[in-house]
Symmetry: C2
Subunit: 106 residues, 2 copies
């Protein structure tokens, strides 16, 4: 695994479901890039001991953190602490690319 990565060259999409590609991986933290076609989503879930941060690279994301859902555009972030439910969906019309940071690796 290289210490360097170009996010947009690494994002992938699939007609079946959201696609995840790993960029960096360690026991302390990993970083993935997610590609979501319009209408695709990651449903609400929580991680008991880990934090997650989403960063919108491209497109529009409906991000749920706990009880709140906001529509985010490129350059916006969201944070879910341990045990906090979180979800993301692409309302379209374009593709959605997200960086996802999680610590520690569950």
């Amino acid at each position: 695994m290289s210490a360097f990565a170009k996010a947009r060259e690494r994002v992938g999409f699939s007609p079946d479901k959201m696609r995840k590609q790993n960029l960096f991986d360690s026991p302390n933290m990993f970083c993935d890039v997610y590609g979501l076609e319009p209408g695709q989503a990651q449903s609400a879930h929580a991680h008991a001991g880990s934090d997650k941060i989403y960063f919108v690279l491209e497109g529009t994301a409906d991000v749920q953190i706990g009880e709140e859902t906001r529509r985010l555009e490129a350059g916006e972030l969201a944070h879910a602490g341990p045990g906090v439910a979180h979800a993301v969906a692409n309302p379209g019309p374009g593709r959605l690319a997200l960086l996802v940071f999680m610590a520690p690796k569950p």
Copy 2:
């Protein structure tokens, strides 16, 4: 602290030195946004037990990871594992804005 943030609204710059603004903070991980005027830098250092990831939001960054230094543009990332020396500098001519993720908080 809100669960949501707009990176570019939070970046700050100072004529004296690189400026850090915290976006999210937990014992597992924090996320800062750094603003560097041309010529400003964070000199090489390492964290014994923590990983760090840089993401270039805007501008150009000379990022050192271990023995390697690369020139990164917006959308590129770099990762330093525990104990790996890392540094960042803004070669100009524009301002540099970086997202910085560190896990765990040292």
